[in-house]
């Protein structure tokens, strides 16, 4: 019964179902409370405000991956900001809440700036210091915000004076923010943000501006927390430092509760806020200090959840759901290498593919200290040709592709791509020229789906921002549509289509390597530098890579330099093999020729005398 429901839900589109259920539920709840009276409305408004507040943590911790113990302080900044705007400057209520949001966003960005520079431990200490700074300077000081115990009035607007009508206002804010957050999370900016959290280096390599992405997250998070604070001030009618939820202890409690609910899903804050408000309402008998119970939940609860399920309660629910789904649809979902279909023409979306480039390396010499890693190496790759590099560790294969991709500077020599001097260009400029290099470790964004992983690669080519993404303006929609088309075409080339919706951390290692290959193809490269694509693969997976690489080469026409220890793979895929030893080219020719060369075999197994490796420096 549950299973069939889950399956049907997935068919309709889970988000739509959940959204509809949430909206319907909230509507019924609102109807009931507004009818039943002030007390219930007041409490439900609290719930809405705390959900909003915890949502700001989803943005900053769940998406940007930054630990923030400052939520309570931001809440306070928003509350005091709105109250001051209302009582001192007599701004309209909604404007005051908006201003509170802006002020808090600014504070959040200022505090957030050092995170771009600091390791997490130091950042935590610093933020803890900032809490006390904000507390002492803003909340309790005489010369600001009424100071001390004096309350700053925050009158509600005339059109939402009663508790039920104020509740409706809070609920409207919540629904709006929710819709916005969900939308922009799924679009370009949100994707880039999750990518920077999962793997900052890889995201940067794909052209995501990590600094900018994080600052945007800080601002959005601050804005949400600030508006929550503003609404809170209105709910209470005024704030003082005695309002009691702005201190560092509450910052920690909020953090703990939200982690408990789960910060990787928007359901987390709902769970956390529900928990908090319900606990406060429960008749507590002997527990006269309800806060204690809260602390027991936020503390040991988080520890327990974190030891077992780092994604909190919402993560546990998701895992449970996935298990049920997997059990019912096991037959269709089983991971198996898809049959390779030989294709004659390129898929339509690949029609504008740039094709292969001609690479010409001349007299490359590369020295580190006393070691000569490359000694006068020549390498030419014709457009569309696949050249395999064979040799032992230290033969210079990786150094050579590092020189081409720009990660290592050659001491002497030239590298030309279709006549353009590559050595004069920065690595990212070479990437724009169409040089794409793989890494031995699969660099993926583990919490994102395969589709999203590949969409991140389209980030630099897309331009819509936070607002148009959050509001789903036509521009954002068109861009998303075009990007998806390209991703689907690339997934088709490397046979990844069946895995489009799977999360990267649920894939087998072999499939992950394919996702990595697809991510490289997303950039429409003209020269692929593959560094040990078969490393770590099982025998069957390594064999399956042979036809796949051939297909990539024939469909896209890209030129490929393949570095690999797996002789069989290199022999099967390459048009030509270059055998290397001790930084020099030993033999060049067709696979059959090179493999028949006795000196090659000897070199590959390191049978030569170590003395030849002269001048090695002690490390």
């Amino acid at each position: 019964m549950i299973d069939s429901l889950l399956v049907r839900m997935q068919a309709v589109g889970e988000r739509k179902v959940m959204g509809a259920v949430a909206l319907g539920g909230l509507g019924l709840l609102l109807l009931w409370t507004t009818l039943s009276g002030n007390y219930e409305s007041f409490q439900l408004a609290r719930f809405c405000i705390f959900t909003l507040l915890f949502l700001s943590l989803v943005v900053i911790t769940g998406q940007a991956g930054v630990i923030s113990l400052l939520t309570a302080a931001y809440f306070g900044v928003g509350a005091f900001g709105a109250a001051t705007a209302l009582s001192t400057y007599h701004l309209p209520f909604l404007v005051a809440v908006f201003v509170a949001g802006l002020v808090t966003a600014l504070a959040c960005v200022i505090v957030g700036l050092p995170v771009l520079r600091l390791p997490p431990a130091a950042f935590i200490v610093m933020t803890l210091g900032f809490v006390s700074l904000i507390e002492e300077v803003v909340f309790t000081n005489d010369w600001c915000c009424g100071g001390g115990a004096v309350s700053v009035p925050a009158p509600r607007p005339s059109w939402a004076e009663s508790d039920p009508s104020y509740l409706l206002l809070c609920a409207a804010f919540l629904v709006g923010t929710f819709a916005f957050t969900v939308a922009w999370r799924r679009g370009r900016v949100g994707r880039a943000l999750v990518a920077t959290r999962d793997n900052p280096t890889a995201a940067e390599a794909l052209g995501v501006n990590v600094v900018k992405a994080r600052l945007v997250a800080f601002a959005v998070s601050g804005f949400i927390a600030g508006t929550a604070g503003g609404l809170f001030a209105g709910l209470l009618g005024g704030v003082s430092s005695l309002s009691g939820v702005f201190g560092v202890d509450h910052g920690i409690e909020f953090f703990g509760l939200t982690m408990l609910g789960g910060v990787t899903s928007v359901a987390g804050p709902v769970i956390a806020a529900g928990f908090r408000v319900l606990l406060q309402l429960t008749p507590i008998g002997e527990w006269e200090h309800f806060g204690l119970l809260l602390f027991f939940v936020a503390g040991p609860g988080t520890v327990l959840v974190y030891l077992r399920a780092p994604e909190g309660v919402s993560g546990i629910v998701r895992d449970w759901k996935n298990r049920r789904l997997a059990a019912t649809t096991r037959a269709e979902h089983r991971e198996q290498p898809a049959p390779v279909v030989e294709r004659t023409g390129a898929p339509a979306a690949l029609a504008d593919w740039p094709g292969g480039a001609r690479l010409e390396c001349r007299h490359i010499t590369c020295r580190f200290g006393g070691i000569t890693a490359l000694d006068n190496v020549d390498l030419t790759v014709e457009p569309g040709e696949v050249v395999g590099l064979l040799g032992t560790n230290g033969a210079g294969k990786s150094t050579l592709i590092n020189v081409i991709s720009g990660m290592v500077t050659a001491t002497e020599g030239t590298v030309h791509l279709d006549g353009v001097d590559l050595l004069a260009l920065q690595p990212y400029e070479r990437a724009r020229m169409g040089v794409s290099r793989s890494f031995q470790q699969a660099q993926m964004f583990s919490s994102m789906s395969v589709l999203d992983n590949l969409l991140v690669a389209e980030h630099p080519g897309m331009h819509h921002g936070l607002l148009s993404g959050g509001l789903r303006l036509p521009r954002a929609r068109t861009e998303e549509h075009a990007a998806r088309g390209h991703v689907e075409a690339v997934m088709d080339v490397v046979d990844l289509t069946p895995f489009a919706a799977a999360r990267a951390d649920e894939l087998s290692y072999g499939t992950l390597r394919l996702v990595q290959l697809a991510a490289m193809l997303m950039q429409r490269p003209r020269l692929l530098l593959l560094d040990e694509p078969a490393a770590g693969l099982a025998e069957a997976e390594a064999r399956a890579l042979e036809p796949l690489l051939k297909k990539v080469a024939s469909v896209t026409g890209v030129s490929i330099v393949l570095v690999e220890h797996d002789v069989a793979l290199v022999a099967a895929v390459s048009d030509r093999i270059v055998g290397m030893d001790s930084g020099a080219v030993l033999s060049t020719g067709t696979p059959a020729e090179v493999l028949a060369d006795p000196s090659m075999v000897v070199a590959y197994l390191g049978l030569d005398d170590p003395q030849r490796n002269e001048e090695a420096v002690p490390s």
């Binding site: 032992t392 560790n393 230290g394 087998s508 290692y509 992950l512 040990e532 490393a535 770590g536 099982a538 025998e539 390594a542 064999r543 220890h565 797996d566 002789v567 069989a568 793979l569 022999a571 493999l595 006795p598 075999v601 000897v602 590959y604 197994l605 390191g606 049978l607 030569d608 005398d609 170590p610 003395q611 490796n613 002269e614 001048e615 090695a616 420096v617 002690p618 490390s619």
Partner: protein, 243 residues
């Protein structure tokens, strides 16, 4: 027939989803010298770390003198005379040479006579270490650091020395010195299990070799045979293409 000094049976290990070792069996008899060969990423170092119990393994057993010591940790192995020198940066950079040796002698640190004797023996073998006694290990040259690593192993009077990449990143003359020490040790009856990249180096002081590829033993036999018979090397080398 008595049980071999050291036997690792069907060792399996994974890093997350990545299967690194898939049922590797290696045996070393008393006084024997064995090489573990294979390309980068074949799983050699992982194998050593698994059998000495500093890395959890997914399956398999480790026997010393026929006694099961699986997952008992390095202390149990040290007590039975099996010492593992890890590859790469295995020194304590901020400790002095003397302090590093003292750490190595932790299991018998209270036995002052034994400590003094071990120290004397080690300094006699490596006079350079005696000179640099108060110098920090991180400031030693690469070769001296490896000597210190050997010295830290020798204080235990090992019966079996497990060495991971003795020669990595060192100059040929330095390698020569270290190989001499190891050959000398082997001559005095210490069994060896050595990971080496280069067959030529391994052939100089090992009797038998295991060739590891894709987490499995692809070949087992005499090192000299592997070194001298081109056709055999070819067979091992092209093993992957056979399929």
């Amino acid at each position: 027939m008595s049980a071999p000094l050291f036997e690792a049976q069907d060792i399996a290990a994974s890093y997350g989803k990545l299967r690194v070792l898939d049922g590797v069996t290696v045996r070393v008899d008393a006084g024997e010298s064995v090489a573990l060969l294979g390309t980068n990423g074949a799983g050699k170092s992982t194998f050593l770390r698994c059998v000495t119990g500093v890395q959890p393994m997914a399956g398999g057993r480790v026997l010393i003198d026929g006694e099961d010591v699986t997952s008992e940790g390095p202390q149990a192995l040290l007590a039975r005379g099996v010492v593992h020198i890890p590859g790469g940066h295995c020194t304590f950079p901020a400790l002095s040479v003397g302090e590093s040796l003292r750490v190595a002698m932790w299991p018998f640190r209270k036995d002052t006579a034994r400590v003094a004797a071990a120290e004397e023996r080690v300094f006699a073998r490596f006079p350079i270490l005696a000179e640099r006694r108060t110098q920090s290990a991180g400031s030693l040259s690469g070769g001296q650091q490896q000597m210190l690593a050997l010295a830290r192993a020798l204080v235990h009077d090992p019966r079996l020395l497990i060495i991971d990449e003795l020669s990595l990143g060192l100059a040929p003359t330095v390698i020569e010195q270290l190989v001499e020490v190891v050959v000398d040790l082997h001559a005095s009856g210490v069994a060896l299990l050595v990971v080496e990249q280069r067959l030529a180096t391994a052939a100089r002081f090992t009797d038998r070799a295991y060739f590891l590829e894709r987490g499995k033993v692809q070949f087992e036999g005499a090192t000299s045979e592997l070194h001298n018979r081109g056709d055999l090397v070819r067979a091992v080398f092209l093993g992957g293409t056979a399929s």
